[in-house]
Structure formats: C-alpha cells, structure tokens
Symmetry: C3
Subunit: 158 residues, 3 copies
C-alpha cells in the first residue's frame, strides 16, 4: 500500500505555506497520497480574490473578511515581513533563482490531486462560505483530520 | 490495540491551543489515547489564576510570572491580536456561532481523560511550581515525550 | 530495528530550536536515529559566525545575510523577545538553573551523530553557501526529507 502524508495547515503565512506546498507537490511526485486540512488562518491561502462576497455575513464577519489576506499571494511572511517590504525582498530573491511563486505551488498541488479539506468550525466562525474558496475544497470536521492523520506516514502541524 | 495521539504544546497562544484541544477532545471521543506534553510557553495554558504564588522564586521568576498570561483565557492570539482587540473580535465571532471557549475545551479534555505532562526543565527555568498548574499535570522529562510520541499514530508540535 | 525521529527545522527562533535540540539530544541518548532537516529561517541556526562571506552573492543576498541572525546564540525568541531584553532575561533564568545554552545543545547534537540536512532550494534563494554553515551539513532536496520522515516514528515541523 502507498505511503501517505497529512498536513494540518493552521498558520496562513507565505513562507510556511510555501514549505507545506513544496512538500505536498514533492510527495505527489513520489506517488504518495497527500491530504491538506485547512483550519483557522490556514484558510486564507485558499481564498479566491475573484469570489469574495459579503452576503449572509454578520458585521464582524464582513470586517474580518476585509482585514485579512485575500488568497495565496496576499499572505504575509511569518517573520521579517516589515509591512510587506521583507516579503517583496524575498520574492525578488526567489525570482533571481527562477523559483516558482506560492500560487504556482498551489496550482501544482491542485493539478496533482492533493486532497483539500476545510475545517467546518473555522469556516463557520470566520464566516467563509464554500464558494469563496478554491472549488476543490471539501468541508470536514476535526474527526476527518484525525482519521486521516492516524493512517498517515507523515503528519505535520504547519 | 487502540490508536494514540501525542501533542507537544509549545506555543501558548489562544488559537493554537484551541486547535490542539479540539483535536484532543475529538480524539478522545473516537476512543484514542491522547497525551499532551507542555513545554515553554505552552505551560501558560495550564496556569490556575487562583493558585498563583511568588513563594520560593527568584526575582526574575517573579517578574516572569507577573508578565506572562495567567491561564487559558488570558492567552493572546498568534496573529492579529492587536493588544487584545483582535482576540475580543474573534471571541465575539465564536459566541455568534455558539462555539465553546478555550477554557471549555480544556475542561472537556480534563474530564475525558487526556493525559497532561509538564516539561520539568521548562518548569524549573520559568519557576512554575506544580501547584500553580492544573492538578492533573504530571511532571516529566523530554525522554517521556519521546517514548510516548514514538508509539503514537499522530504526533504534532503545536 | 531502531526507532527514528525526523525534525523539519523551519522557524529559526532560540526557544523553538532549544526544544528541538533537547529532543534530538535525548533521542540520540535513547539510541534513536535522528535527522534534522533545515529549511528557510531554520538555516540561521547553523550559520558559523566565523565563516561569513559575501563572495558570489547578489546585492539582495548580501543585505539578507547582514540583516539576519548569525548562528545559534544570535537567534531571537519566538515571543517576548523585546529587542533582546526578554531573551536576556530567559538566558539569566537558564543560568540560574545551570541549564545549558542553545549552542551547547547544538554541539551535543553534532557530537552524538545527529544527521544534518540543509534544504537546497532555501540555500539557493537566501544565498547561503555550504561553507558558511556547520561542516556536518549535507545539502538535500524536499524529496530527501519526505523519504526520511515517512520512515520515522516521530516527525515534527518546528
């Protein structure tokens, strides 16, 4: 039976999401099954900037949606972000090495058949609707993550 | 033999502790064994605000004890805390969805028989005494965590 | 067959690196195989302050090298760093308990035969050369980490 990797995506930061998606893409190329379970700030990575909506949201949910990063390329760095200056510098250094951007690794993971789950409780609290996020996303509870992770060869909280 | 989950609680932040305790409660409901090992900032979650003491502490330990969060509900968010304003907003959003608070998930984990360990070295350095923390806590060394984690189906550093 | 632990060192913070290296030393004393894979900010831990160089680097890489922590003892805390004051306080509290410093745990891990890998992509982007880092370091790709982690009994993202 094939090997399996299960990632709990919690942080919602450009650099950590990059590490996670590089692992996800690489593991798929190695024919492993890969599941990514997005909770709390992790969900920002999957927002589609073209599909934002304020419909059916409370005032807090609208404010929260407006204040927080809108998709992969909008995420801040986990350190040295310096209001975006540090991130800009890192992006230039990545370009100098012809390294793909975060959005490219996300596209890769989607094409390669990584399984995407969104934490139901986080989505309810933050007011994110299914059609504001990437279409592959399935909504799931913590039980799903635990079932999945307990059968995986690698589990990481990122 | 039953499945087992082992969490290393390092961060001491409201949102990460929430994720961890939701996993711990859910895994116990699924009849898994759950161990939580608290080190460094993670120990703040287990402080009992009613049992603070400065007895037998150095000046640094007293200062440290006074400057740091006093129990679960006093923890800051890992991001967007904005001196507590961001946390207040998240708490209101949680209340709108009738989601339990962190302290409720901690109570749940205690009632459901999650095993709590506190890192001896961290407690020595920070000057936390056993009776300032929740009574279920057993003091243990890194070796205990490693033994435990190496027999678990899920291990996460949170 | 012996047990194995595999750590993905991402964060580059004094306290998290301390936790990781305590685990690594303890696991080696328990006769486990230990692999540490350093990516992104994690690489700062392995910089040798005596072997810095700006040769063969772009302007950004030189700036980045100059702005970022130079080896283990130069790392900031993940929280309460207060421009180094909080770290100083923690160091004094550690000294009061005769706890070793981070650099000592790093030396221990090197002597005890922990396997050190550096992420090739991170090193390329940041412009770190092999001879600026500790000599034990082997350069490797994400595939190496995944192979390794999928055969480990413990895997943690730190």
């Amino acid at each position: 039976m094939g090997k399996k990797m299960s990632l709990l995506m919690f942080s919602g930061e450009y650099d950590k999401a990059m590490a996670a998606l590089i692992l996800a893409n690489t593991a798929r190329e190695m024919k492993m099954d890969v599941t990514m379970f997005f909770a709390f700030w992790g969900l920002f990575l999957l927002r589609d900037p073209e599909s934002m909506s304020t419909e059916d949201k409370t005032t807090y949910e609208k404010m929260f949606g407006a204040m927080t990063p809108k998709g992969a390329e909008d995420l801040p760095l986990s350190k040295m972000n310096f209001s975006g200056l540090g991130k800009q510098m890192l992006l230039e250094m990545m370009e100098d090495d012809d390294a793909p951007k975060l959005i490219d690794f996300l596209e890769g993971a989607r094409k390669k058949g990584v399984q995407f789950y969104g934490c139901k409780l986080s989505m309810d609290i933050m007011g994110f609707k299914k059609d504001e996020l990437i279409p592959e996303l399935e909504i799931a509870t913590a039980q799903k993550f635990i079932e999945d992770a307990s059968e995986s060869d690698i589990q990481l909280f990122i």
